[in-house]
Symmetry: C2
Subunit: 230 residues, 2 copies
Amino acid sequence: MRLGIFLFDGLTLLDAIGGYEVLARLPGMETVFFAEEEGLIAADTRALGLTATASLENIGSLDILYIPGGPGVDRVLNKPHVLDVLRRLDEGTTWTVGICNGVGILAAAGMLDGQSATTNYFYRDDLAKYGVDVVPERYHRSGKYVTGAGVSASIDTGLYLAGEIGGEMAGKTLQLGIEYYPSPPYQETTPEEAPDRSKALVKAVEGMSAQILAQEPGFAGRSFEWKPPA
Amino acid sequence: MRLGIFLFDGLTLLDAIGGYEVLARLPGMETVFFAEEEGLIAADTRALGLTATASLENIGSLDILYIPGGPGVDRVLNKPHVLDVLRRLDEGTTWTVGICNGVGILAAAGMLDGQSATTNYFYRDDLAKYGVDVVPERYHRSGKYVTGAGVSASIDTGLYLAGEIGGEMAGKTLQLGIEYYPSPPYQETTPEEAPDRSKALVKAVEGMSAQILAQEPGFAGRSFEWKPPA
């Protein structure tokens, strides 16, 4: 199978890496990170760049299309040509995955018409505006669409999908491989239970992230060059 | 504070990204990914490259030294000059973090003499050979040394340390920010409970990973170039 993970300026990296770390290890999986153009992509923190080795133009067909979230999603939503290519890729997939507010990209591209989906705790109302039936779950399947809640939910979502593709033993083996037996240091078990002050702070930081990205396109002003394979 | 995350050829990316996604978001944190040399570093899957913007030579001093694991650890252990620089960096830190078999790098560099530590389920015996008191915990603190179990334990470890640095409200806010309210699709809660077949498979794959890395240094034979900031 061929897994394509879509990268864009200002993504939240754990949205992508949680699912990648599981799905890329399924036997026979070919994994490609792609973006609007080949080259280095800056994560939302501006502290990390990672490589897209394929572009929207040359990505070819995918069995699994995987779209993470992050503050950069808003800019992707304003690029109709990107949404067009993603929709065309989705037409050929066996599975399409959206994580966090990246689920908004699926919705904006028209993939989720008549479907249900989960998303980031803070993005539920935004997603509902697309007419999607929003469910407050950690991960959720609706037909071939598998969606995950915020950021770290990419791991649970990836494990669920790995189990659907490879069976329970594959899922449990990958769970052991990444040692996903979580034990968070705090007692809250859902975002609803988080302190009100934390909710206010996260909302404030999300606004600031959007501003930082607006002022500073690219990777903290640094220059990168990528040479494709000879 | 200044957080330095050490990258090396063949790291397991979630080991680094779980902690990064939390610690890099602490207010006032400056985060730098560094490696033996500046440039692009290939993860163990050979499907992803990410950027080291500083080298061992120019990284400067760090408040937090963070060392992930992966099949590439074995090669790092055979580089005394790398261990020397990491040990020197550790002498100036407030906290030093090791994840998965990356804890072996701390031990080999002499940082864990007289300390206790956790590590990957499959690496406990290897770590004990360095004389470290190995504890089978998700994350563990011994003095300034904070260690995590395998791969995804980087998240729990990062949240714990974020709480130690910024207090409980900061920890809970970061937990909400990355929506870490896990709900794995399988019922096992420790690596001990994983099916025997999964344990055998993971051990087999670890051997294969080492072989792949030995045959194929670099990023799947691809050529990368990084231009430092002007």
